[in-house]
Protein backbone atom coordinates (compact mmCIF):
# COMPACT_ATOMS: atom_id res chain seq x y z
CA UNK A 1 0.00 0.00 0.00
CA UNK A 2 1.72 3.15 -1.09
CA UNK A 3 1.86 6.21 -3.27
CA UNK A 4 4.89 7.45 -5.11
CA UNK A 5 6.10 10.88 -6.13
CA UNK A 6 6.40 10.99 -9.93
CA UNK A 7 7.44 14.63 -10.06
CA UNK A 8 8.34 16.65 -6.98
CA UNK A 9 6.50 19.81 -5.99
CA UNK A 10 7.89 23.06 -4.61
CA UNK A 11 7.66 22.04 -0.95
CA UNK A 12 5.70 18.94 -0.02
CA UNK A 13 6.28 17.55 3.46
CA UNK A 14 4.75 15.12 5.89
CA UNK A 15 3.28 16.94 8.88
CA UNK A 16 0.96 16.36 11.79
CA UNK A 17 -0.40 18.62 14.51
CA UNK A 18 3.11 19.40 15.77
CA UNK A 19 5.86 18.14 18.02
CA UNK A 20 5.20 19.43 21.51
CA UNK A 21 7.24 18.92 24.64
CA UNK A 22 10.73 19.67 23.33
CA UNK A 23 10.79 23.46 23.15
CA UNK A 24 13.21 23.71 26.05
CA UNK A 25 15.70 21.85 23.82
CA UNK A 26 15.14 24.41 21.06
CA UNK A 27 13.11 21.91 19.04
CA UNK A 28 10.12 23.81 17.71
CA UNK A 29 6.64 22.29 17.36
CA UNK A 30 6.47 22.72 13.58
CA UNK A 31 3.50 20.79 12.22
CA UNK A 32 0.90 21.80 9.67
CA UNK A 33 0.35 25.47 8.92
CA UNK A 34 -3.43 25.04 8.64
CA UNK A 35 -4.52 22.78 11.47
CA UNK A 36 -8.19 23.04 10.55
CA UNK A 37 -7.77 21.82 6.97
CA UNK A 38 -5.36 19.06 8.03
CA UNK A 39 -7.68 17.73 10.69
CA UNK A 40 -10.70 17.78 8.37
CA UNK A 41 -8.63 15.95 5.71
CA UNK A 42 -8.08 13.16 8.22
CA UNK A 43 -11.69 13.11 9.41
CA UNK A 44 -12.99 12.79 5.84
CA UNK A 45 -11.11 9.50 5.40
CA UNK A 46 -11.89 8.15 8.86
CA UNK A 47 -8.52 8.85 10.46
CA UNK A 48 -7.65 10.23 13.85
CA UNK A 49 -7.41 14.04 13.34
CA UNK A 50 -3.75 13.91 14.39
CA UNK A 51 -2.62 11.44 11.71
CA UNK A 52 0.18 12.39 9.36
CA UNK A 53 -0.89 14.27 6.23
CA UNK A 54 0.99 15.60 3.23
CA UNK A 55 1.23 19.40 3.16
CA UNK A 56 1.49 20.56 -0.45
CA UNK A 57 2.52 23.97 -1.76
CA UNK A 58 1.99 25.15 -5.33
CA UNK A 59 3.26 23.85 -7.70
CA UNK A 60 2.47 20.51 -6.08
CA UNK A 61 3.83 17.05 -6.69
CA UNK A 62 2.54 14.57 -9.24
CA UNK A 63 1.44 11.59 -7.19
CA UNK A 64 0.75 8.05 -8.33
CA UNK A 65 -1.44 5.83 -6.17
CA UNK A 66 0.02 2.37 -6.44
CA UNK A 67 -2.88 0.81 -4.59
CA UNK A 68 -6.56 1.55 -4.15
CA UNK A 69 -6.95 4.30 -1.61
CA UNK A 70 -9.51 6.45 0.13
CA UNK A 71 -8.18 10.01 0.02
CA UNK A 72 -9.18 13.61 0.68
CA UNK A 73 -7.71 16.94 -0.32
CA UNK A 74 -8.47 20.04 1.76
CA UNK A 75 -7.19 23.55 2.31
CA UNK A 76 -5.93 25.45 -0.71
CA UNK A 77 -7.51 24.71 -4.08
CA UNK A 78 -4.84 23.86 -6.64
CA UNK A 79 -7.49 22.21 -8.89
CA UNK A 80 -6.59 18.63 -7.96
CA UNK A 81 -6.94 16.53 -11.08
CA UNK A 82 -7.05 12.75 -11.44
CA UNK A 83 -5.62 10.93 -14.45
CA UNK A 84 -4.58 14.08 -16.33
CA UNK A 85 -7.93 15.60 -17.13
CA UNK A 86 -10.58 15.15 -14.50
CA UNK A 87 -10.73 17.79 -11.77
CA UNK A 88 -12.11 16.62 -8.42
CA UNK A 89 -13.49 18.75 -5.65
CA UNK A 90 -11.67 19.46 -2.42
CA UNK A 91 -13.03 18.84 1.13
CA UNK A 92 -14.52 15.51 0.02
CA UNK A 93 -13.60 11.84 0.38
CA UNK A 94 -12.58 10.18 -2.89
CA UNK A 95 -11.92 6.52 -3.60
CA UNK A 96 -9.13 6.10 -6.15
CA UNK A 97 -8.20 2.92 -7.96
CA UNK A 98 -4.68 1.62 -8.22
CA UNK A 99 -2.57 3.47 -10.82
CA UNK A 100 -4.52 6.71 -10.54
CA UNK A 101 -2.41 9.82 -10.98
CA UNK A 102 -3.07 12.97 -8.93
CA UNK A 103 -1.67 16.33 -9.93
CA UNK A 104 -2.43 20.01 -9.45
CA UNK A 105 -2.32 21.86 -12.78
CA UNK A 106 -3.63 25.28 -11.78
CA UNK A 107 -3.60 27.48 -8.72
CA UNK A 108 -7.08 28.54 -7.71
CA UNK A 109 -6.99 29.77 -4.11
CA UNK A 110 -5.09 29.46 -0.85
CA UNK A 111 -1.53 28.57 -0.04
CA UNK A 112 -1.31 25.00 1.23
CA UNK A 113 -3.39 21.94 0.59
CA UNK A 114 -3.50 18.75 2.59
CA UNK A 115 -3.66 15.21 1.30
CA UNK A 116 -4.85 12.53 3.71
CA UNK A 117 -5.10 8.82 2.95
CA UNK A 118 -7.26 6.42 4.89
CA UNK A 119 -5.09 4.69 7.49
CA UNK A 120 -2.45 7.41 7.35
CA UNK A 121 1.09 7.46 6.01
CA UNK A 122 3.43 4.88 7.43
CA UNK A 123 6.39 6.99 8.55
CA UNK A 124 8.22 6.66 11.87
CA UNK A 125 7.56 9.13 14.64
CA UNK A 126 10.44 11.27 15.80
CA UNK A 127 10.00 12.65 19.32
CA UNK A 128 6.33 11.64 19.31
CA UNK A 129 5.45 13.39 16.07
CA UNK A 130 5.31 12.76 12.33
CA UNK A 131 6.14 16.38 11.50
CA UNK A 132 9.10 17.11 9.25
CA UNK A 133 11.69 19.34 10.92
CA UNK A 134 13.74 20.55 7.96
CA UNK A 135 16.30 22.33 10.18
CA UNK A 136 17.06 19.24 12.21
CA UNK A 137 16.68 16.98 9.17
CA UNK A 138 14.47 14.71 11.23
CA UNK A 139 10.85 13.63 11.43
CA UNK A 140 8.36 13.08 8.61
CA UNK A 141 9.83 11.39 5.55
CA UNK A 142 13.59 11.15 6.29
CA UNK A 143 13.55 14.70 7.66
CA UNK A 144 13.21 16.28 4.24
CA UNK A 145 10.77 17.44 1.61
CA UNK A 146 9.36 14.81 -0.73
CA UNK A 147 11.30 14.16 -3.89
CA UNK A 148 10.98 12.25 -7.13
CA UNK A 149 10.81 8.50 -6.64
CA UNK A 150 9.85 8.65 -2.96
CA UNK A 151 7.44 5.91 -1.98
CA UNK A 152 5.14 6.51 0.94
CA UNK A 153 3.51 3.39 2.30
CA UNK A 154 0.12 3.61 3.99
CA UNK A 155 -0.77 2.08 7.29
CA UNK A 156 -3.26 -0.73 7.32
CA UNK A 157 -6.80 -0.01 6.29
CA UNK A 158 -9.71 -0.70 8.56
CA UNK A 159 -12.38 0.21 6.02
CA UNK A 160 -13.01 -1.94 2.96
CA UNK A 161 -13.64 0.82 0.43
CA UNK A 162 -12.70 -0.82 -2.86
CA UNK A 163 -16.31 -2.01 -3.09
CA UNK A 164 -17.35 1.63 -3.42
CA UNK A 165 -15.71 1.79 -6.82
CA UNK A 166 -17.97 1.08 -9.71
CA UNK A 167 -16.28 -1.32 -12.10
CA UNK A 168 -15.99 1.20 -14.88
CA UNK A 169 -14.69 4.06 -12.75
CA UNK A 170 -11.09 4.70 -11.86
CA UNK A 171 -12.08 6.91 -8.98
CA UNK A 172 -15.25 7.78 -7.12
CA UNK A 173 -15.86 10.96 -5.13
CA UNK A 174 -18.19 10.15 -2.25
CA UNK A 175 -21.39 12.12 -2.05
CA UNK A 176 -20.74 14.46 0.86
CA UNK A 177 -18.32 17.25 1.52
CA UNK A 178 -17.44 19.58 4.37
CA UNK A 179 -18.60 23.17 4.19
CA UNK A 180 -15.86 25.24 5.76
CA UNK A 181 -18.11 28.29 6.07
CA UNK A 182 -16.88 30.37 8.96
CA UNK A 183 -13.26 29.32 9.32
CA UNK A 184 -12.04 31.06 6.18
CA UNK A 185 -14.60 33.88 6.25
CA UNK A 186 -13.17 37.44 5.87
CA UNK A 187 -9.68 36.11 5.04
CA UNK A 188 -7.90 39.45 5.37
CA UNK A 189 -9.32 40.46 8.74
CA UNK A 190 -7.02 38.93 11.34
CA UNK A 191 -7.95 39.07 15.03
CA UNK A 192 -5.25 39.34 17.67
CA UNK A 193 -4.82 39.83 21.39
CA UNK A 194 -2.26 42.35 22.60
CA UNK A 195 1.26 41.26 23.45
CA UNK A 196 3.34 42.18 26.47
CA UNK A 197 5.20 44.91 24.59
CA UNK A 198 2.09 46.46 22.99
CA UNK A 199 2.05 49.32 25.56
CA UNK A 200 5.58 50.24 24.45
CA UNK A 201 4.26 51.33 21.05
CA UNK A 202 3.62 55.05 20.68
CA UNK A 203 -0.09 55.90 20.66
CA UNK A 204 0.05 56.83 17.00
CA UNK A 205 1.73 53.51 16.18
CA UNK A 206 -0.98 51.64 18.08
CA UNK A 207 -3.53 53.46 15.92
CA UNK A 208 -1.46 52.76 12.78
CA UNK A 209 -1.44 49.05 13.55
CA UNK A 210 -5.24 48.97 13.79
CA UNK A 211 -6.12 51.34 10.97
CA UNK A 212 -3.70 50.35 8.23
CA UNK A 213 -3.28 47.34 6.02
CA UNK A 214 -0.10 45.27 6.05
CA UNK A 215 1.11 43.35 3.02
CA UNK A 216 2.70 39.90 3.13
CA UNK A 217 6.18 40.05 1.62
CA UNK A 218 7.42 37.39 -0.85
CA UNK A 219 10.17 36.32 1.62
CA UNK A 220 7.48 34.78 3.82
CA UNK A 221 7.61 31.05 4.47
CA UNK A 222 6.61 28.37 6.98
CA UNK A 223 8.78 30.08 9.62
CA UNK A 224 7.11 33.44 9.41
CA UNK A 225 5.34 36.08 7.35
CA UNK A 226 7.23 39.30 6.88
CA UNK A 227 4.79 42.19 6.69
CA UNK A 228 5.25 45.51 4.97
CA UNK A 229 3.31 48.55 6.10
CA UNK A 230 3.60 51.84 7.92
CA UNK A 231 6.65 51.53 10.22
CA UNK A 232 5.71 51.29 13.90
CA UNK A 233 7.65 52.97 16.68
CA UNK A 234 8.25 52.24 20.34
CA UNK A 235 8.28 55.03 22.91
CA UNK A 236 11.64 53.79 24.16
CA UNK A 237 13.87 51.01 22.92
CA UNK A 238 14.46 48.81 25.95
CA UNK A 239 16.48 45.75 25.00
CA UNK A 240 14.76 42.44 25.64
CA UNK A 241 16.55 39.26 26.60
CA UNK A 242 15.39 36.30 24.50
CA UNK A 243 12.19 34.66 25.66
CA UNK A 244 9.46 32.35 24.39
CA UNK A 245 7.36 32.97 21.29
CA UNK A 246 4.57 30.96 19.70
CA UNK A 247 2.65 30.32 16.47
CA UNK A 248 0.86 33.60 15.75
CA UNK A 249 3.19 35.91 17.68
CA UNK A 250 3.48 39.35 16.03
CA UNK A 251 6.98 40.76 16.55
CA UNK A 252 8.28 44.25 15.84
CA UNK A 253 11.62 44.32 14.02
CA UNK A 254 14.16 47.10 14.61
CA UNK A 255 13.21 48.74 11.29
CA UNK A 256 9.59 49.15 12.46
CA UNK A 257 8.16 46.35 10.32
CA UNK A 258 6.21 43.39 11.65
CA UNK A 259 6.88 39.68 11.42
CA UNK A 260 4.20 37.06 12.06
CA UNK A 261 5.56 33.78 13.41
CA UNK A 262 4.14 30.70 11.70
CA UNK A 263 4.37 26.92 12.25
CA UNK A 264 8.16 26.59 11.85
CA UNK A 265 8.97 29.54 14.11
CA UNK A 266 11.95 29.44 16.45
CA UNK A 267 11.18 28.63 20.08
CA UNK A 268 12.55 31.90 21.45
CA UNK A 269 13.15 35.42 20.23
CA UNK A 270 14.26 38.82 21.40
CA UNK A 271 12.02 41.18 19.42
CA UNK A 272 9.09 42.92 21.11
CA UNK A 273 5.82 40.96 21.04
CA UNK A 274 3.22 43.44 19.84
CA UNK A 275 0.41 40.94 19.66
CA UNK A 276 -0.65 37.35 19.05
CA UNK A 277 -2.95 36.19 16.30
CA UNK A 278 -5.64 34.12 18.02
CA UNK A 279 -5.76 30.38 17.36
CA UNK A 280 -9.04 30.33 15.46
CA UNK A 281 -7.54 32.74 12.90
CA UNK A 282 -4.39 30.73 12.18
CA UNK A 283 -6.04 28.51 9.52
CA UNK A 284 -7.06 31.44 7.35
CA UNK A 285 -3.73 33.16 8.01
CA UNK A 286 -1.97 30.00 6.81
CA UNK A 287 -3.88 30.22 3.51
CA UNK A 288 -2.85 33.82 2.74
CA UNK A 289 -0.20 34.42 0.09
CA UNK A 290 2.56 36.90 -0.64
CA UNK A 291 1.12 40.30 -1.67
CA UNK A 292 -2.13 39.56 0.19
CA UNK A 293 -2.95 42.20 2.76
CA UNK A 294 -3.91 41.90 6.42
CA UNK A 295 -6.13 44.16 8.48
CA UNK A 296 -5.55 43.62 12.20
CA UNK A 297 -8.41 43.85 14.72
CA UNK A 298 -7.94 43.60 18.45
CA UNK A 299 -10.04 41.28 20.60
CA UNK A 300 -10.00 40.44 24.31
CA UNK A 301 -9.21 37.03 25.78
CA UNK A 302 -12.83 35.88 26.43
CA UNK A 303 -13.65 36.59 22.76
CA UNK A 304 -10.51 34.81 21.54
CA UNK A 305 -11.35 31.74 23.60
CA UNK A 306 -15.04 31.72 22.57
CA UNK A 307 -14.08 31.84 18.89
CA UNK A 308 -11.71 28.93 19.35
CA UNK A 309 -14.24 26.88 21.32
CA UNK A 310 -16.89 27.33 18.64
CA UNK A 311 -14.37 26.28 15.96
CA UNK A 312 -13.41 23.20 17.95
CA UNK A 313 -17.08 22.42 18.53
CA UNK A 314 -17.66 22.60 14.77
CA UNK A 315 -14.72 20.22 14.21
CA UNK A 316 -16.28 17.77 16.67
CA UNK A 317 -19.52 17.83 14.69
CA UNK A 318 -17.63 17.31 11.42
CA UNK A 319 -15.76 14.39 12.92
CA UNK A 320 -18.96 12.70 14.09
CA UNK A 321 -20.67 13.31 10.75
CA UNK A 322 -17.71 11.89 8.80
CA UNK A 323 -17.62 8.86 11.05
CA UNK A 324 -21.35 8.21 10.58
CA UNK A 325 -21.20 8.65 6.81
CA UNK A 326 -18.26 6.31 6.41
CA UNK A 327 -19.84 3.73 8.67
CA UNK A 328 -23.08 3.70 6.71
CA UNK A 329 -21.21 3.18 3.48
CA UNK A 330 -19.09 0.29 4.54
CA UNK A 331 -21.50 -1.62 6.75
Amino acid sequence: MSLSIIKPGLLDTIQDMGRYGYSSWGINPGGVMDGYAARVANMLVGNDPGEAVMEIHFPGAHILFEQNALISITGADFTPTLNEDEPVSTWRPIVVRRNTLLHFPKWQSGSRCYLAVHGGFCVPRWLNSYSTNLKAGAGGFHGRKLDKGDELPFKENSIYFAGLLKETREYQPLNWRVDTGRTYHLPHEILFTIGNEWPQLTHSSQRDMLENNFTIHPFSDRMGYQLRGVPLKRQHTTELVSSGVSFGTIQLLPDGQLILLMADHQTTGGYPRIGHVISSQLPKLAQLRPSDSIQFSMVDMPTAEELLFSQEHELNIIQRACYDHLNQLVC
Binding site: G26, N133, S242, S243, G248
Partner: protein, 224 residues
Protein backbone atom coordinates in the same frame (compact mmCIF):
# COMPACT_ATOMS: atom_id res chain seq x y z
CA UNK B 1 4.83 39.19 42.00
CA UNK B 2 6.53 38.74 38.59
CA UNK B 3 4.91 39.84 35.35
CA UNK B 4 2.52 37.21 33.93
CA UNK B 5 0.99 37.77 30.51
CA UNK B 6 -0.78 35.90 27.73
CA UNK B 7 0.81 35.11 24.38
CA UNK B 8 -2.46 34.65 22.54
CA UNK B 9 -5.12 32.16 23.60
CA UNK B 10 -2.74 29.19 23.89
CA UNK B 11 0.29 30.40 25.84
CA UNK B 12 1.13 32.17 29.09
CA UNK B 13 4.51 33.63 30.04
CA UNK B 14 5.90 34.45 33.45
CA UNK B 15 8.72 36.99 33.23
CA UNK B 16 10.92 37.26 36.31
CA UNK B 17 12.82 40.35 35.27
CA UNK B 18 14.01 40.56 31.65
CA UNK B 19 17.66 40.19 32.50
CA UNK B 20 20.58 37.84 32.34
CA UNK B 21 20.89 36.70 35.92
CA UNK B 22 21.97 33.38 37.35
CA UNK B 23 19.45 33.54 40.18
CA UNK B 24 16.49 34.40 37.91
CA UNK B 25 17.50 31.66 35.48
CA UNK B 26 17.84 29.26 38.41
CA UNK B 27 14.26 30.08 39.45
CA UNK B 28 13.03 29.58 35.85
CA UNK B 29 14.60 26.12 35.73
CA UNK B 30 13.24 25.28 39.18
CA UNK B 31 9.73 26.16 37.98
CA UNK B 32 10.32 24.03 34.89
CA UNK B 33 11.38 21.09 37.05
CA UNK B 34 8.39 21.56 39.34
CA UNK B 35 5.96 21.70 36.41
CA UNK B 36 7.45 18.52 34.97
CA UNK B 37 6.91 16.82 38.29
CA UNK B 38 3.41 18.31 38.65
CA UNK B 39 2.08 18.52 35.11
CA UNK B 40 -1.58 19.15 34.35
CA UNK B 41 -3.43 17.54 31.46
CA UNK B 42 -3.64 19.98 28.57
CA UNK B 43 -0.14 21.35 29.16
CA UNK B 44 1.55 20.88 25.78
CA UNK B 45 4.99 22.39 26.12
CA UNK B 46 7.21 24.62 28.25
CA UNK B 47 9.72 27.11 26.89
CA UNK B 48 12.42 28.14 29.32
CA UNK B 49 14.49 31.23 28.53
CA UNK B 50 16.91 33.56 30.35
CA UNK B 51 14.48 34.94 32.88
CA UNK B 52 11.10 33.73 31.68
CA UNK B 53 9.06 30.58 31.32
CA UNK B 54 6.25 30.05 28.82
CA UNK B 55 3.55 27.41 29.04
CA UNK B 56 1.93 26.26 25.79
CA UNK B 57 -1.49 24.78 26.51
CA UNK B 58 -4.55 23.37 24.77
CA UNK B 59 -7.36 25.83 25.60
CA UNK B 60 -10.22 23.67 24.30
CA UNK B 61 -9.07 20.62 26.23
CA UNK B 62 -8.71 22.66 29.43
CA UNK B 63 -12.12 24.23 28.90
CA UNK B 64 -13.90 20.90 28.47
CA UNK B 65 -11.82 18.98 31.00
CA UNK B 66 -11.63 21.38 33.96
CA UNK B 67 -14.54 23.70 33.12
CA UNK B 68 -12.91 26.78 34.64
CA UNK B 69 -15.28 29.46 35.94
CA UNK B 70 -13.55 32.24 34.01
CA UNK B 71 -11.24 32.19 31.03
CA UNK B 72 -8.86 29.29 30.47
CA UNK B 73 -6.09 31.89 30.49
CA UNK B 74 -6.88 32.79 34.09
CA UNK B 75 -6.94 29.12 35.01
CA UNK B 76 -3.44 28.54 33.56
CA UNK B 77 -2.25 31.76 35.19
CA UNK B 78 -3.22 30.25 38.54
CA UNK B 79 -1.15 27.13 37.77
CA UNK B 80 1.87 29.32 36.97
CA UNK B 81 1.47 31.25 40.20
CA UNK B 82 1.32 27.95 42.07
CA UNK B 83 4.46 26.72 40.30
CA UNK B 84 6.17 29.99 41.17
CA UNK B 85 5.35 29.62 44.86
CA UNK B 86 5.84 25.87 45.16
CA UNK B 87 9.18 25.61 43.36
CA UNK B 88 12.44 26.29 45.13
CA UNK B 89 14.93 29.00 44.19
CA UNK B 90 16.86 26.65 41.91
CA UNK B 91 16.90 23.07 40.64
CA UNK B 92 18.00 20.35 42.96
CA UNK B 93 21.08 18.30 42.11
CA UNK B 94 24.48 19.26 40.76
CA UNK B 95 24.69 20.63 37.23
CA UNK B 96 25.98 18.40 34.41
CA UNK B 97 29.43 19.59 33.38
CA UNK B 98 30.80 19.34 29.83
CA UNK B 99 34.40 19.87 28.67
CA UNK B 100 34.37 20.84 25.01
CA UNK B 101 37.49 20.89 22.77
CA UNK B 102 37.63 23.84 20.37
CA UNK B 103 39.85 24.43 17.35
CA UNK B 104 40.31 28.18 17.57
CA UNK B 105 41.05 30.58 14.73
CA UNK B 106 41.95 30.04 11.11
CA UNK B 107 39.14 28.69 8.99
CA UNK B 108 37.51 27.30 12.14
CA UNK B 109 37.21 30.73 13.70
CA UNK B 110 37.09 33.35 10.98
CA UNK B 111 36.39 36.22 13.37
CA UNK B 112 39.05 35.44 16.00
CA UNK B 113 41.65 37.78 14.51
CA UNK B 114 39.25 40.70 14.07
CA UNK B 115 37.80 40.24 17.55
CA UNK B 116 41.33 40.24 18.99
CA UNK B 117 42.19 43.41 17.06
CA UNK B 118 38.99 45.10 18.15
CA UNK B 119 39.73 44.27 21.78
CA UNK B 120 43.47 45.05 21.50
CA UNK B 121 44.46 41.52 22.43
CA UNK B 122 46.41 38.78 20.72
CA UNK B 123 44.40 35.79 19.43
CA UNK B 124 46.19 33.68 22.04
CA UNK B 125 44.94 35.99 24.78
CA UNK B 126 41.36 35.77 23.48
CA UNK B 127 41.63 31.95 23.53
CA UNK B 128 43.07 31.97 27.00
CA UNK B 129 40.31 34.25 28.31
CA UNK B 130 37.58 32.22 26.57
CA UNK B 131 38.88 28.92 27.94
CA UNK B 132 39.55 30.35 31.38
CA UNK B 133 35.98 30.30 32.58
CA UNK B 134 33.12 27.96 33.37
CA UNK B 135 29.96 28.98 31.54
CA UNK B 136 26.39 28.35 32.54
CA UNK B 137 23.94 27.23 29.83
CA UNK B 138 21.08 29.66 30.40
CA UNK B 139 18.79 28.49 27.65
CA UNK B 140 18.46 26.48 24.46
CA UNK B 141 16.66 28.17 21.58
CA UNK B 142 16.91 29.59 18.07
CA UNK B 143 17.84 26.16 16.64
CA UNK B 144 17.44 22.65 18.07
CA UNK B 145 20.25 22.45 20.63
CA UNK B 146 21.60 25.99 20.19
CA UNK B 147 23.05 26.94 23.57
CA UNK B 148 23.04 30.42 25.05
CA UNK B 149 25.89 30.48 27.57
CA UNK B 150 27.15 33.29 29.76
CA UNK B 151 28.89 35.30 30.88
CA UNK B 152 31.84 35.97 28.67
CA UNK B 153 34.63 38.06 30.26
CA UNK B 154 34.04 41.65 29.21
CA UNK B 155 37.57 41.83 27.77
CA UNK B 156 36.38 39.62 24.87
CA UNK B 157 32.67 40.56 24.76
CA UNK B 158 31.68 41.94 21.36
CA UNK B 159 28.21 42.77 19.95
CA UNK B 160 26.82 40.54 17.22
CA UNK B 161 27.39 41.45 13.57
CA UNK B 162 25.08 43.80 11.72
CA UNK B 163 24.12 41.12 9.21
CA UNK B 164 23.95 37.33 9.55
CA UNK B 165 26.42 35.30 7.47
CA UNK B 166 26.56 31.54 6.78
CA UNK B 167 27.93 29.70 9.81
CA UNK B 168 29.23 26.10 9.91
CA UNK B 169 27.92 23.48 12.33
CA UNK B 170 30.04 23.28 15.48
CA UNK B 171 31.09 26.94 15.30
CA UNK B 172 31.72 28.59 18.66
CA UNK B 173 30.70 32.22 18.76
CA UNK B 174 30.49 35.29 20.95
CA UNK B 175 27.60 37.79 20.99
CA UNK B 176 27.77 40.44 23.66
CA UNK B 177 28.41 38.65 26.93
CA UNK B 178 27.06 35.38 25.53
CA UNK B 179 28.91 32.47 23.98
CA UNK B 180 27.33 29.55 22.15
CA UNK B 181 27.76 26.69 19.71
CA UNK B 182 25.90 26.34 16.40
CA UNK B 183 24.44 22.82 16.12
CA UNK B 184 23.81 23.13 12.34
CA UNK B 185 24.98 25.06 9.34
CA UNK B 186 22.86 28.17 9.60
CA UNK B 187 22.85 31.90 9.05
CA UNK B 188 24.21 33.55 12.17
CA UNK B 189 25.38 36.90 13.47
CA UNK B 190 27.71 35.79 16.26
CA UNK B 191 31.49 36.39 16.08
CA UNK B 192 32.95 32.98 15.30
CA UNK B 193 36.19 32.24 17.13
CA UNK B 194 36.48 28.47 16.76
CA UNK B 195 34.81 25.17 16.03
CA UNK B 196 34.22 21.99 17.94
CA UNK B 197 33.88 18.49 16.49
CA UNK B 198 31.63 17.44 19.36
CA UNK B 199 28.11 17.05 17.88
CA UNK B 200 25.56 19.29 19.57
CA UNK B 201 22.63 17.48 17.99
CA UNK B 202 21.95 13.88 17.01
CA UNK B 203 18.42 13.12 15.82
CA UNK B 204 18.92 9.35 16.26
CA UNK B 205 19.94 9.57 19.89
CA UNK B 206 17.37 9.07 22.62
CA UNK B 207 18.54 12.42 23.89
CA UNK B 208 19.12 14.39 20.67
CA UNK B 209 20.48 17.53 22.29
CA UNK B 210 23.85 17.53 24.09
CA UNK B 211 23.55 20.70 26.18
CA UNK B 212 20.59 21.50 28.42
CA UNK B 213 19.68 24.65 30.30
CA UNK B 214 21.39 24.56 33.67
CA UNK B 215 24.43 22.60 32.42
CA UNK B 216 27.96 23.97 32.75
CA UNK B 217 30.51 24.15 29.94
CA UNK B 218 34.25 24.54 29.98
CA UNK B 219 36.04 25.04 26.65
CA UNK B 220 39.59 23.90 26.10
CA UNK B 221 42.02 24.51 23.27
CA UNK B 222 42.09 21.37 21.10
CA UNK B 223 45.27 22.54 19.39
CA UNK B 224 47.41 22.69 22.48
Amino acid sequence: MPNIFSMGDGAVTIDLGNQLSESLNGKVLAMYQWLQQHPFEGLKDIITAYSSLTIIYDPYFLKTHYQPANTVFEWVQERIITAYHQSGPQVSGTPVKHRIPVHYGGENGADLASLAREKQLTPAEVISIHTGKLYRVYMIGFLPGFSYMAEVDERIALPRKEKPVPVTAGSVGIAGSQTGIYPFNSPGGWNIIGRTAVPMFNAQAQNPVLLKAGDEVEFYNANS
